[in-house]
């Protein structure tokens, strides 16, 4: 009899834990999904077919993305703790701004052509403590075929909001990719030089891409 009640208690507890974790699983996706849906609808919006409105479209996309991604954490993690603390707080902020700008330049300009894409939510994993999640999706469309994209999100304890801090496309994590780059860059230049370089690139000065200069030129 005692065993039976213990069994029931365990069962109840198990069910409670299950529903708790699925609740936060939903939470992460519920936070991500509206942003992605909005991005897709902005991209599909026929009024932006006119390229004179590209600027306006870019601004709207920018807003959604800034709201969905934690660029500071993104930059810091891409740098890694050992390198990050070599930057003064002021340099750190400049770095985050430049990094954000580079990302925006790079993606918002390329993303315009994807006007008819769908995102399928394949699966999600939530960490045991419920504050980190990975959401696996696939972008499906005429232009892209099927591209697997995984979003890494964490839950900000204070605000309770879920924010993206990494993006993995075709198995390539942006965070790790930038860590590799920053590691190489830090071998060659001082924090200040790196910040200035990033800022130049963000302003599009160093980066004379795409037609005029090869990629290799600017790293050397």
């Amino acid at each position: 009899m005692r065993n039976a009640s213990l069994f029931f208690a365990a069962l109840l507890l198990g069910v409670a834990m299950l529903s708790a974790s699925s609740a936060s699983a939903d939470e992460a996706q519920q936070a991500l999904e509206p942003s992605i849906t909005e991005i897709l609808s902005i991209l599909a919006d026929p009024q932006y077919k006119d390229s004179s409105k590209a600027g306006e479209q870019k601004e709207r996309l920018e807003k959604v993305i800034l709201d969905m991604v934690d660029f500071k954490l993104f930059t810091a993690l891409a740098m890694g703790k050992a390198a990050w603390i070599q930057f003064s707080p002021e340099q750190q902020n400049r770095l985050v701004d430049a990094f954000t700008q580079i990302m925006e330049n790079k993606y918002l300009d390329n993303i315009r052509k994807y006007t008819n894409e769908k995102v399928e939510y394949l699966r999600e994993d939530v960490s045991p403590n419920g504050n980190k999640a990975r959401i696996e999706t696939a972008i499906v469309g005429a232009k892209s075929g099927q591209v697997p994209v995984t979003y890494s999100l964490y839950k900000n304890r204070k605000t309770g909001r879920w924010l993206v801090y990494d993006l993995t496309v075709e198995g390539i994590s942006m965070l790790s990719n930038w860590r590799t780059q920053f590691a190489e860059a830090m071998k060659k230049m001082s924090p200040n030089e790196l910040v200035e370089r990033m800022e130049k690139q963000a302003r599009g000065e160093e980066d004379v891409f795409p037609e005029q200069a090869p990629a290799a030129r600017e790293s050397r």
Partner: protein, 292 residues
């Protein structure tokens, strides 16, 4: 036959014109570390658990990274997230050579391959370009067939074989990929296999990263795999002169590139270190392929 085999090897190394963007998507497998990196994504909840190495310390006063952007990143945040970044420890003893070759390929891409692909794209609509791509893809079926067999993926090998027969017979010799919509009778893993991945499955590690002129990024193991694959690619066995075959291969590369313009740019544009960006991307992509 022997002549073709020899021309093959030489050509495979020198003239496949499979530049970085292609190669980054194209061939080879991974060592344990890289495999672990790929596992980062599938993120079984177990893996996630291990990442937050000290999830217990993630407590009441988590510093708010997002709200007060002036706050420094606190220690427990580092603890929480550092494990998420899988740093690639690709051995790169050939770095000076590799960087020079990377630069060479980069010039080749921007000054030869890309303009050619853009011109081709301008002249020919997308559909015919897909047909050309399908045709060569179909001719490369033996590569996937053999690799599936060697990896013990017998059902997948059967799928590759029947697609080859189907596309060749009913798709105008492989121009149309008529079988791509047909679902196999049971769920299969990917048939996108090559000899480099096979070697990886067999337990060979990557060896150093190496960038070949023209061919692009690879590793020692993937290079061996690439040479092996060349022997099974039927497009090298067409009854034409060697120089004609080279021309055909160049054309194939231009055609394939025309369908992929922008991928290489997306990877290197805005990069602080394009060489490192491509190396990381290549290793990660191969790790993912190997895990599938």
């Amino acid at each position: 036959m022997f002549r073709y085999a020899m021309s093959f090897l030489g050509l495979a190394l020198a003239l496949a014109l499979a530049l970085c963007p292609n190669a980054a998507r194209a061939s080879g497998p991974e060592n344990q570390a890289a495999l672990a990196a790929a596992n980062e994504i599938p993120g079984s909840s177990q893996a996630l658990g291990q990442e937050g190495s000290d999830s217990s310390t993630f407590g009441a006063e988590e510093p708010n990274v997002e709200d007060d952007s002036q706050q420094p990143i606190a220690d427990d945040v580092w603890g929480e997230f550092e494990g998420d970044v899988k740093v690639e420890n690709t051995p790169d003893p050939l770095q000076p050579w590799n960087e020079a070759m990377f630069e060479f390929n980069d010039y080749l891409y921007y000054y030869a391959l890309k303009p050619a692909a853009q011109a081709w794209k301008f002249v020919v609509p997308e559909k015919p370009r897909r047909w050309v791509s399908n045709f060569f893809n179909n001719l490369a079926s033996p590569v996937r067939f053999a690799s599936c067999l060697l990896q013990g993926k017998f059902f997948e090998a059967g799928v590759v074989f029947s697609r080859f027969v189907g596309n060749t017979a009913f798709g105008l010799g492989g121009l149309a990929d008529v079988t791509s919509d047909l679902k196999p009778t049971r769920k299969i893993s990917t048939t996108d296999e090559d000899f480099g991945q096979t070697l990886g499955i067999w337990g060979f590690s990557n060896g150093p990263y190496i960038v070949w002129p023209v061919i692009g990024p690879s590793t020692i193991r993937d290079s061996v795999g690439y040479a092996g694959d060349s022997f099974l690619d039927l497009s090298w066995y067409l009854e034409v002169e060697l120089w004609q075959n080279i021309l055909i291969k160049t054309g194939q590369t231009i055609n394939d590139t025309s369908l992929r313009l922008g991928e290489y740019e997306a990877l290197t544009e805005g990069a602080v270190d394009p060489y490192a960006a491509v190396r990381d991307a290549y290793m990660k992509f191969r790790a993912k392929q190997l895990s599938e």
